[in-house]
Symmetry: C2
Subunit: 174 residues, 2 copies
């Protein structure tokens, strides 16, 4: 009975899109962007802007902006179909690739600016010759060292081949 299965799938997919969208919020990603990503991750075929608008009930501007943002992240890519004038989009479905993309983007947007602030404060407080000044400098120094270190580690991990990362992680969990 395929029509019942179709209905169940439609429902499950809609749930996934809606809930993944809600989650996006906690990830510093706006709802629509997360929803489009969810929609495309569970869509076997590449689809166009109008279908995204219709499936998610959003405006053209909104769909456009977020599709382009996803492309700029590298989480989806544009497809040109022969004989078709408009653009279609399909998602990267490999989980490790998704992870590395998100990790890199978050490092760029969250860690790198923090390092910048810390290094500047480190400079600004260099040579302040009071007990409080030295304590401040010391704290900045510790923070900068740790954040820089973490940034390198994250970079290294997200540059690994999946197999290697898996091996490493397995050792960690054993």
């Amino acid at each position: 009975m395929s029509s019942a299965d179709d209905a169940k799938l439609k429902q499950a997919r809609e749930d996934f899109v809606a809930q993944w969208g809600a989650l996006g919020t906690h990830w510093g990603i706006n709802r629509t962007m997360a929803q489009i990503h969810a929609l495309l991750m569970t869509e076997p075929e590449a689809i166009g802007t109008d279908e995204v608008m219709e499936r998610l009930q959003i405006s053209r501007g909104n769909a456009h902006t977020n599709l382009k943002e996803l492309v700029s992240w590298g989480l989806i890519r544009t497809i040109v179909k022969k004989g078709e004038r408009r653009e279609f989009f399909e998602a990267e479905k490999d989980v490790w690739k998704i992870f590395t993309i998100v990790a890199r983007e978050r490092r760029r947007r969250e860690i790198d600016p923090a390092l910048g602030v810390l290094h500047q404060c480190l400079d600004d407080s260099r040579g302040i010759d009071t007990p409080e000044g030295r304590a401040f400098h010391e704290q900045m120094s510790k923070l900068a060292e740790f954040v820089g270190f973490a940034s390198n580690v994250a970079d290294r991990v997200s540059g690994m081949k999946y197999g290697i990362a898996l091996q490493l992680a397995a050792r960690l969990l054993s």
Copy 2:
């Protein structure tokens, strides 16, 4: 010339607080909470609500809410001074402890709910007997497996002693 040093320190500290607050935004943490945390991280003495209000120019309600939130995260703790009726607050200053607290909190708020959604979709799509249904189920399965795995790894790492983590990371960067 200590008064010049004092001025420089005051400036550097204010910059740090302001900029760290701005960064908080990109971390899903509100500006005030990040600013209070920054203020307390660079303050040698525990300070009270009124001083926080004054230093950051914010209302009592705002200060109160965010101080309590920071306490609930474990990033700051309350101090009772003898002979004083009001509460004082001091920050956790150890960078590794800060990291593990933030990592755990983010796992709880970002990863665990995602796992919940994925497992539910996994159930809802079990046994849908169409090609599309199987593809959907397969994608959910891969996502759930990876996210669960990542969650365990994060948990394990943030439960480590700093020395061990450092050793591991050093091996990674070599």
